[in-house]
Symmetry: C2
Subunit: 392 residues, 2 copies
């Protein structure tokens, strides 16, 4: 799978609904068919591979994650959860295990959000967080639309993108953070996901010539944008150690070296696991924008692009993961996820939890992302046993 | 001319070597031919329209400027100097004036530098500041090359792009700054141009996930870039009122909302009319980059994209402009140009000066750029008389 979109720096660039995403999906579908599964594609391109149980009416037990990557992404983020699910199916087949409930593996569409914002869009439509038509209308930076790209790669399916009954959902994933490695532990039983907001802050000034215009005559968007950027980072640090602020992108218009910009658009991602603290950080950001814009005669406008509320997972399933890990002899701790995952959405309509394994240096969204074979195997082992107990 | 590339906000977007630039050039060539001129195009697309004198061997007297604009430019920057020159030719024709020396109007290629850096490239090749092949290899942001685009629009000429003897060169231009308007004067006799540097500063950190990565574990390029941006503006203010710093463009890689960037590239334009002060500002900027990068574990690299040294114009021609303005009853002052102009390059091989007229609010590189018909006529009047005295 990692060969599809492999980058020279050892990572993967297989962004959602690209030709490479199609190749990744095709490979998964082939492997799932070889494992005897039926395949269903829904209206937003989510793929469901099902291994039947003995009870036709029993709700399925699902393992799911995503195959899309960041532009400079790694080989494990998302992909691991899908392939661990596939491995569960193969182990069941090899051992001729018969389950009561069906066992299913899901590939969710557009989890990363780097090409099409918001992130976790495919699972978000299924959880009714977004409407199907909202997702269809989302555009990438080049103005290409989600629905058109989905159709183009041949994954516009007919199964309704709506909640179904599931007995349990598990998502195996690399931690994408440093905690398990620092603690020297193998398995994280994920109790929930911290909250996040994405904002686009537009600073409007007045474009003018870089040479003859005295500094004191300018209405330079940077005069407000630079202190807001500095202030956003300070806000995160002031709410440490869990406060986070990231400026992932900035757009400058007209973007000419010898022209003071008319407009600067700063994308800010802020996070905190405590909902009240997160709201305080957001209020602080808004106050900062207001103050700096007023002080410098800049017109500021903050658009909310996405909000992911802090979410708790199913306590019973968390306990299943903990006890499976103990039984299998893998060290384990309860942990909060710093990143959003499709499990945030599935938790809205089905009991859900996640299984984390360590990644080298806590590094993710980076081509150097790495995890050991032993840890990945341990995570898949815990996934197998947790799923089996639910499906038995 | 302003209809070609007209924007809805009343400005012009007629960037160098685009189809619209071709249309503007075609219109100028038609007008110049109608005025009885011969046309020559040189190897970098500069256009020379000549009205012959009685002495075949006398070096010509030239009026020149440019027709290309910023992406969100005005109707006057550059265009005024070309059309004022054309008006001089027409007035000479209408009054059947015979001159000893030829009178010439030049349209220089790619003055603005917003599409192809450096600015003032066409005149820069003629002055031997750049080689022809350097200019040919320059690329725009989309990777299109100067030579290919020049050929595509049909302005790759055969006249060598090299210095020729000229008796005098004048460039009429809007001031692009606030001084004439503030002083309530009509004509600026330009004594020289302030110095400028363009730098691209690359800040390299380590991309990672916006959610799970604690602030203190990050190597975020912004941790150095933000204080450098703030520091660059402070440097300009500390060297006021003539110190200038502009951040016209910023590139963020990979440019994903939920990824701490691997790399941020900041374009900085800094200027000062005093060469020694400008060098002090540059040294200050380098020290700032070094200090902030070291403090935050960021790899910083500063590339010089362009340097325009502070340049003095020809004292005799400046005096010609002053005395012509006085004689014609237009108020006048000597002034330094805050912007670079093709005259900076022509001053390297021929006596050169410029004639400034006020522009509303000192605003330029903005679609709202404006100048009064009376001031524009006064400038053209001074241009006519100064050229006539040289060509008589
Ligand atoms: N796991 C992951 O990379 N999710 C993307 C959504 C987010 O930004 O948290
Ligand atoms: N006049 C003008 O806009 N020149 C562009 C070169 C510069 O940046 O000074």
């Amino acid at each position: 799978m990692a060969r599809i979109g492999a980058t020279s720096a050892g990572g993967c660039n297989r962004q959602a609904l690209t030709d490479l995403d199609r190749q990744g999906r095709d490979l998964f579908v082939r492997w799932a068919r070889e494992a005897g599964c039926t395949i269903e594609i829904d209206e937003v391109g989510n793929i469901f591979a099902q291994r039947p149980g003995t009870d036709r009416d029993a709700p399925a037990v699902l393992a799911g994650s995503h195959l899309d990557t960041q532009a400079t992404g790694g080989k494990y983020d998302g992909v691991y959860g899908v392939l661990a699910g596939l491995e569960v199916l193969r182990v069941l087949n090899e051992n001729a295990v018969v389950t009561r409930a069906p066992v299913e593996v899901a590939v969710w569409t557009n989890e990363e959000g780097c090409r099409f914002a918001p992130a976790m869009l495919g699972s978000g439509v299924v959880s009714s967080t977004y409407t199907r038509d909202f997702a269809y209308a989302v555009e990438d930076k080049a103005g290409l639309r989600f629905r058109d790209e989905l159709e183009r790669i041949g994954y516009l399916g007919s199964r309704p993108a709506a909640p179904r009954p599931y007995a349990a959902m598990f998502e195996a994933h690399i931690e994408q953070g440093p905690i398990l490695e620092k603690e020297g532990l193998t398995i994280g039983a994920v109790t929930g996901i911290q909250g996040a907001y994405w904002f686009d802050i537009t600073f409007e000034g007045l474009s003018c010539h870089a040479g003859p215009t005295p500094m004191e005559m300018r209405r330079d968007p940077w005069s407000a944008a630079v202190p807001v950027m500095a202030g956003a980072f300070a806000l995160a640090r002031a709410n440490g150690p869990w406060g986070r602020a990231t400026i992932g992108d900035v757009r400058v218009e007209p973007g000419s070296r010898n022209t003071v910009p008319a407009r600067v658009v700063v994308s800010i991602d802020i996070r905190h696991p405590d909902a009240a603290t997160l709201e305080t950080m957001v209020a602080g950001l808004h106050a900062l924008v207001e103050r700096e814009c007023a002080a410098h005669g800049i017109f500021g406008q903050t658009a909310q692009v996405w909000h992911m509320p802090a979410t708790a997972f199913d306590a019973r399933l968390v306990e299943r993961v903990v006890s499976a890990a103990r039984r299998l002899g893998h060290s384990c701790m309860e942990i909060v996820s710093g990143a959003g995952h499709d499990s945030l959405h599935t938790a809205q309509f089905a009991p859900t939890t996640m299984i984390f394994v360590p990644c080298a240096g806590g590094l993710s969204h980076n081509e150097a992302e790495a995890a050991t074979a032993a840890d990945l195997a341990a995570g898949a082992d815990v996934l197998l046993h947790a799923m089996l107990e639910e499906a038995a």
